[in-house]
């Protein structure tokens, strides 16, 4: 037990320090080379350096590889490889936008990489049912999970600090679940993810000084999918990420298919004088931000606080579902 506590502390410190150093090195270079994007929700639309994804992913990968070497866990190597591929797909999208149908298809590849790495036993814990044996159908679910989680996280990366803070809030209640199952590989990966996201969150929270880009959001989504599958907690991660999926599914259903965010003609929300409101147009797509602002306009920090509260609620629901409604 003491060894695992030491490894958890090491994973946190290593990922946090590496991410901080990479952010300090990367951000001035992004500005120097003109890699900036407009913050469309701010008056004057300030230009913000993007993408910070390489700083976050590299810190995560270094931490997980060191821990994998010390703990002798092959599952962690699979996590580094599959999240690395998702990161590269996101980086490709940051540099030259991929099509709205190509990106979800490409996101199946990290799932395949994790499957062939041998890191997965297709026996997920399911609420009400207990531990299932899904030797035939699991692989379809795995591929879908990578695409859904990555796109869900990508859709949540809409306001300053919203993605990292909602990832913390929705997954922190799952830490006791991973401990109860003895899934230390999953736990150490999750702690490395937290450590690498903290320096990013401090710079991305309102008012943002850096954006993560798709290289960051697709990597984070793939990391959550990888952690869920190596620990057999897919259903619990899916429940804890419900706000992410509510947003993703509502946008998909309301625009009637896959479209890039920039290609959606009628925007879900409108911005005026620092206040965000649901677009009054009846044909505007539904997003989580539009739902939160459908009665009254709200400021960006207030919307983020409400999303974090909803994410925490879904995380607690997920943890309670595991401890109260799952036969073990």
């Amino acid at each position: 037990m003491l060894t695992w506590i030491f490894l958890a502390a090491l994973a946190l410190v290593l990922s946090l320090v590496a991410s901080e150093l990479f952010h300090r090195a990367l951000i001035p270079r992004l500005i120097e080379r003109g890699y900036v994007s407009e913050d469309v929700h701010k008056p004057g639309r300030p230009k913000i350096p993007e993408p910070a994804g390489p700083a976050v992913y590299l810190a995560f990968a270094i931490s997980v590889m060191v821990i994998s070497h010390l703990a002798g866990s092959a599952a962690l190597e699979g996590v580094v490889a599959s999240t690395g591929l998702a990161f590269l797909i996101g980086l490709l999208d940051d540099l030259s936008p991929l099509g709205p149908k190509t990106k979800p298809l490409l996101l199946v590849l990290p799932a395949l990489l994790l499957a062939v790495s041998g890191a997965i036993v297709p026996r997920p814990y399911l609420p009400i049912l207990g531990r299932a044996r899904l030797y035939y159908t699991y692989w379809i679910v795995l591929a879908a999970m990578f695409t859904v989680f990555s796109n869900g996280v990508n859709m949540m990366d809409a306001l300053n600090g919203m993605m990292p803070s909602s990832v913390f809030a929705s997954t922190l209640p799952l830490v006791p679940v991973l401990i109860a199952l003895g899934s230390y590989a999953g736990l150490l990966s999750l702690i490395s993810l937290y450590g690498s996201l903290i320096p990013y969150y401090l710079r991305n929270r309102y008012p943002a000084r850096v954006f993560g880009g798709d290289s960051n959001s697709l990597f984070v989504g793939a990391a959550l999918a990888s952690i869920a599958s190596i620990s057999n907690t897919e259903a619990f991660f899916a429940i804890s990420l419900l706000p992410f999926m509510v947003s993703g599914f509502s946008i998909l259903a309301s625009i009637g298919g896959l479209l890039e965010r920039r290609d959606i003609k009628i925007r879900p929300v409108v911005v005026g004088e620092g206040v965000i409101r649901a677009n009054p147009d009846g044909k505007a797509p539904i997003s989580l931000i539009a739902v939160l602002t459908c009665q009254e306009g709200k400021t960006e920090p207030r919307i983020v606080r409400e999303v974090v509260a909803i994410s925490l609620l879904s995380g607690i629901l997920s943890s309670a579902t595991f401890f109260l409604l799952t036969p073990r």
């Binding site: 469309v40 609420p127 809409a158 009628i266 929300v269 539904i286 931000i289 739902v291 009254e296 409400e306």
Partner: protein, 83 residues
């Protein structure tokens, strides 16, 4: 608490109930059909997913109706577009 936040909380709670409802349906199928054989197992998974898909679509229609109702009664104003 405003109705936008209440609607968002409702969306999460109803999504959670849908997931549990679909798993309960699979449990009923397993109890009645057993777990022996590839076709039986596949049928159970497919029926479970179809039930979840159908329920998700109903969930979306309900959410949309509530969303439009609250939005039309709210204080909507114009301005530049965002996400």
């Amino acid at each position: 608490m405003d109705r936008g936040l209440l609607l968002a909380i409702y969306s999460v709670l109803s999504g959670w109930i849908l997931v549990l409802g679909s798993l309960f349906l699979i449990k009923v199928l397993i109890v009645n059909l057993g777990t022996e054989g590839f076709l039986v197992a596949l049928t159970e998974v497919v029926v479970g997913f179809l039930a979840l898909g159908g329920a998700l679509y109903l969930w979306y229609l309900t959410m949309r109706a509530l969303f439009l109702k609250v939005k039309s009664s709210g204080k909507g104003h114009g301005g530049p577009g965002g996400t």
